[in-house]
């Protein structure tokens, strides 16, 4: 008998039909009767004092219904982490980046709203603009936030083991620097929302978010509304990748404007405003020193990192920790020291983006490890395998690899890519490269300090027993959580996938921290599984009594009641169902007793059958400061091999082939797992080769478009040989863990290592444009002369 009925298959997504027909409604598709349109006034200066705000002209414009500035909105500070609440809805005394919010208006239509904001007159006194981390921390640099006179938003100093001692034991030590560029999430759907404040003083916010829960909390705090009066609802969401994981200025503005006007208020970002709001990947300046023994044993790592955080903290306080903690694995490493500094600059705020904090560190280190392997005369895969961690290993910073198919992944890509045949044997201009990585399967702690459950779930059975309503606040943003959670519910309860009707992304349905840090499958999955098991128990209890059969002798599978010890006479129950069921659709025709019949009988006995589940991680490792960032109930891991062709004259890179193996514990839906892997690699390819938010000298973004901020097209991204590794994670529901972010970890360094193999040059600055390779090749030629 096969182990699972529903999970571990390739079922089509539950939302597929709605999405291929255009039926799926996103926030910008919604409208309400009597709705107003909002617009923002944003700063044209990167750093300036606000001397005066004159709204008199705006007030006189016909069709304007409300104008709000810091005066109306108040100055309650908010942000992501309570330790760094450094934003107010609107700027009061100064602006800190081009795009900082100054006011919002609500008007009868969008044209009027935009005209209205253009009529607000603001007097500024420009201040010196700081656009670079190292300028920001210079002695005497102007402070962007008064509370942080040296512009250091957060710093981390950690040492595990003894790095100096480690270097003494090392035969070979090398130091490399590495830097990336500020990145944008570049999800296809710009943020949009509608806020509706009703006559009963209840507020409903429909919004394009990754975390209805965090948005609900922030709105409650900033607007001083009881949390129970606020409902945040997610329509379909067009991608997030991190930047949509916290409340934004239009959500807060729309709520306040709706509260003040008593009318629904709709707001949306233009693509340029998406770039201005940003919260995408930081710019990281890493300096890594690694010590190894002659035999290839990695002994010590010293990592120093400066992060360009932009004007506000956002998720940055976590980012600066991740940039250190995520190098603790997947290689055995006894000594690790990390010094991280997240610095304020007058640019849009950076936050979390796929592979939060770890992507650039990983790129830097995996390239350095490749250099070291070559210096030692070792094959890069042999070198990695020599140091690789396995199930049960604990990193020096206390990350517990409760399952880890890292070796299996690496061997799978080696064998799946023809590595042995190709490495070192390709002609000039062709190259092959490898890298590994791992990522948390859900941050172990909420972003605010709390004992809260990370996810709750509720299941209710319909009175006819035919439909399983699953209620969760988990956030479907495209990654597929609605499908995954429905599959988990069906499997755990023993019903068919099509019997489950999911209701998600709504704070009325419970607590769920949302779709970030690759948490939904493991954390929400646990809660859903528990709720399903609870419901199953209730149904079987009633059945046990009615049939006078011990509960443990019964089970539910594929929508049927299983009697483990042979057939039980259910004819009376079936007959009573027929009587009850007269005139209804979907009549059970099976000769066996069905779940539907059993559930109806349970309802008749007990009333509505409702089961609930709740999950928070058990005790996690690490007692040191900052241990909360990086610890997780489980870790996914990934190995990749990339093949490239480099035009040795122009420097153009073509990625020809990619082979990826990812350990996701157990694939709840194999098609979704592959999709996450392929999507991760595509984003990694973009970051490696193209992506960079560019600024002019005044701090203005030079390329706030998808034309000049380049994400890969269908012609840039090759097919991926996609290999799923399953390691059965003990802390995951049915053994499942993450795939959404771990899969991006090795992509950039695998590309970098392949480029080196093709060209003989090491590129330590992203993105690797053709121009950068061209210059590196020229430098190398010069060196030879």
């Amino acid at each position: 008998m096969k182990q699972f009925s529903v999970i571990n298959t390739r079922l089509p997504r539950i939302d597929a039909h709605a999405k291929v027909t255009g039926d799926a409604q996103y926030a910008a598709d919604l409208s309400m009767p009597n709705m107003l349109y909002g617009a923002l006034l944003q700063s044209p200066f990167a750093h300036a004092k606000i001397l005066n705000i004159d709204i008199s002209k705006t007030k006189r414009l016909v069709g304007v219904k409300d104008i709000i500035t810091a005066k109306e909105a108040g100055l309650i500070k908010y942000g992501v982490s309570p330790a760094r609440y450094d934003e107010t809805l609107f700027c009061d005394k100064k602006v800190r980046y081009i795009g900082d919010e100054i006011a919002a208006v609500a008007a009868v239509d969008i044209e009027t709203a935009l005209e209205a904001v253009s009529l607000i007159k603001v007097d500024y006194e420009p201040l010196p603009v700081i656009l670079n981390v190292f300028d920001a921390i210079k002695e005497g640099a102007p402070a962007i936030h008064d509370d942080f006179p040296n512009n250091i938003c957060a710093e981390v100093h950690q040492e595990f083991g003894n790095v100096e001692e480690g270097f003494k034991q090392s035969d070979y030590i090398r130091t490399d620097k590495f830097v990336n560029k500020k990145q944008d999430g570049a999800f296809l759907e710009p943020q949009a929302c509608i806020a509706v404040y009703d006559l009963n003083e209840n507020l409903t916010l429909y919004t394009s978010t990754q975390s209805p829960h965090y948005v609900q909390r922030t709105v409650a705090m900033v607007l001083n509304i009881p949390i129970g009066k606020i409902r945040v609802v997610q329509p379909y969401v067009g991608g997030g990748f991190g930047p949509k994981a916290a409340a934004n200025s239009i959500e807060l503005s729309a709520c306040l404007l709706s509260k003040r006007t008593g009318r629904p208020v709709k707001m949306g970002f233009t693509r340029e405003q998406v770039f201005l709001h940003s919260r995408g990947r930081h710019q990281f300046y890493h300096e890594l020193t690694t010590g190894v023994k002659k035999d290839g044993t990695i002994v010590a790592l010293k990592n120093t990192c400066y992060l360009d955080g932009g004007a506000y903290a956002s998720f940055g306080i976590a980012t600066v920790y991740y940039a250190g903690s995520l190098l603790g694995g997947p290689y055995k490493l006894a000594n690790m020291k990390y010094d991280g500094y997240r610095v304020y600059t007058n640019k849009p705020a950076c936050g979390a983006q796929r592979g939060h904090g770890g992507v650039v560190a990983r790129a830097a280190w995996e390239q350095q490890l490749d250099i070291i392997a070559e210096e030692l005369g070792m094959d890069p895969i042999e070198f990695r395998l020599k140091n690789i961690m396995q199930r049960g290993d604990v990193t020096c910073n206390d990350l517990n690899m409760s399952s880890l198919g890292m070796r299996e992944s690496l061997e799978a890509v080696r064998d799946g890519s023809g590595w042995v045949r190709k490495k070192g044997k390709l002609p000039k201009g062709k190259g092959i490269g490898v890298a590994c990585g791992f990522f948390v399967s859900g941050a172990g702690y909420p972003i605010y300090r709390s004992e809260t459950f990370h996810s709750t779930a509720m299941i209710k059975l319909s009175e006819d027993g035919g439909t399983v309503d699953l209620f969760t606040a988990a956030a479907e943003i495209g990654q597929g959580s609605d499908t995954i959670l429905s599959m988990i519910a069906a499997e755990a309860l023993g019903v068919r996938f099509e019997d489950v009707k999911i209701h998600s992304g709504n704070t009325d349905f419970g607590v769920d921290l949302g779709a970030y840090s690759s948490r939904q499958t493991l954390m929400s999955g646990h809660a859903v599984k528990q709720a399903a098991e609870n419901v199953k128990q209730q149904v079987l209890e009633v059945l046990s009594k009615k049939l006078n059969t011990p509960l443990e002798d019964m089970d539910i599978k594929d929508g049927l009641i299983i009697f483990k010890k042979g057939p039980v006479d259910c004819s009376s129950l079936k007959a009573s169902y027929i009587k009850e069921h007269r005139g209804w659709a979907k009549f059970p025709t099976e000769s066996q007793l069905t779940f539907q019949e059993a559930a109806r009988i349970a309802y008749l006995e007990k009333g509505v059958i409702v089961g609930s589940g709740a999950y928070k991680p058990g005790e996690l490792g690490g007692k040191y400061k900052g241990a909360a960032v990086g610890t997780s109930p489980a870790y996914g891991c990934s190995a990749q091999i990339v093949e490239v062709t480099v035009d040795m004259e122009t420097g153009e890179v073509t990625v020809d082939n990619m082979t990826d193996a990812h350990d996701c514990g157990l694939a709840i839906n194999r098609m979704n797992v592959e999709g996450q892997m392929q999507g991760s690699l595509s984003m990694g390819l973009g970051e490696a080769l193209f992506e960079e938010v560019k600024f002019d000298k005044k701090g203005k973004i030079e390329n706030p478009t998808l034309g000049e901020y380049r994400i890969p097209t269908a012609l840039d991204m090759p097919n991926v040989n996609t290999i799923i590794i399953e390691s059965n994670e003990p802390n995951g529901p049915f053994g499942a863990k993450e795939v959404g972010e771990g899969a991006i970890m090795p992509t950039i360094p695998a590309i970098l290592n392949a480029i080196y193999d093709a060209t003989g040059v090491r590129i330590k600055e992203l993105p690797v444009t053709a121009e950068r390779i061209y210059h590196a090749l020229k430098e190398k030629e010069k060196g030879k002369e």
């Binding site: 969008i110 030079e702 034309g707 840039d716 053709a770 121009e771």
Partner: protein, 296 residues
């Protein structure tokens, strides 16, 4: 959502009517063809013309006609069709290949040949190949009509010799002699949806398959305020027998025939270096084509 400013809109069915409208509204009016450039600029707030005159209903402007020793292409022909017409694909393959790499399929189904010329973007795809082909444009106003060689048409970024009351109506491309070959290479970051960092169009004509170069055109794009001929490179080729060495010499001269700048797409040094490489590559390819006796 990005909004368009307000404007009045006209879509005459006759060219004379379009010319009349343009002359009467003066500088307040702009022509809209495919709209892929002007609507973007209007949405970004860079321009806000009070009047838009569409050429979309003047059917003659979307036609391709074969004349005695040339073909003429109506300025409103969409880029996608340039790569679809057999006549263009076979006899002016260089134009078809440039048309295939412009923007994306969705853009090519709206953008027009005339639009790609009059917007005078220094990195536009069609001007370099059209200049290599020796194309002329026909400019019509209410009172006059004139032909201007594309070589003399551009002034600088966004600036051309076209007068506010003139409409670019046709592009005239002379038939090329036998033993002509050409090639266009566009260097961009991505493989689609791209604006050139550098692009080069070359065309050479041999006097016979294994003979000397009778005529040579090399046009460089995105390395000067407008597409420019690599004059010294063209000169060094004429009368010579083609060879890899000759092309290297020409390519090296081409580097000094341009004046690139550093912008967000690329740096001066890189652009200059790429001119050399792309010139050499396009010439080699053009030579191969020319030897086949193909008309370009």
């Amino acid at each position: 959502m990005l909004l368009l400013p307000k404007f009045d809109y006209y879509e005459p069915k006759e060219l004379t009517e379009a010319c009349r409208l343009l002359s009467e509204t003066g500088s307040k009016a702009k022509i809209i063809a495919g709209g892929t450039d002007i609507l973007v600029n209007m949405k970004k707030g860079l321009i806000s013309p009070k009047v838009l005159v569409s050429l979309g209903r003047i059917s003659r402007l979307s036609e391709v006609e074969r004349m005695n020793k040339s073909i003429t292409i109506g300025s409103h022909l969409i880029i996608a069709k340039l790569a679809e017409f057999d006549l263009i694909r076979k006899r002016f393959s260089i134009l078809a290949s440039a048309a295939k790499v412009l923007g994306s399929p969705l853009v090519r189904n709206r953008a027009t040949i005339g639009g790609n010329i009059v917007t005078a973007r220094p990195a536009a795809d069609l001007p370099p190949v059209l200049m290599a082909l020796g194309a002329k444009v026909k400019l019509k106003s209410r009172r006059s009509e004139r032909e201007v060689a594309l070589d003399d048409f551009f002034i600088g970024p966004g600036a051309t010799v076209i007068k506010p009351d003139e409409i670019l109506t046709r592009v005239i491309i002379p038939e090329t002699p036998s033993y002509t070959g050409g090639h266009y290479i566009k260097l961009g970051h991505r493989k689609a949806l791209e604006i050139a960092i550098v692009a080069v169009a070359s065309k050479i004509t041999l006097n016979k398959p294994d003979g000397v170069i009778k005529d040579a055109k090399i046009v460089l794009s995105a390395v000067a305020p407008k597409a420019v001929h690599a004059k010294s490179a063209e000169e060094v080729l004429i009368g010579e027998k083609p060879s890899a060495k000759l092309f290297e010499e020409a390519a090296s001269l081409a580097m000094n025939d341009c004046k690139p700048i550093t912008d967000i797409r690329g740096g001066v040094d890189y652009r200059q270096a790429m001119v050399e490489i792309l010139t050499r590559r396009t010439l080699s390819f053009a030579w191969k084509e020319a030897k086949k006796g193909k008309k370009q």
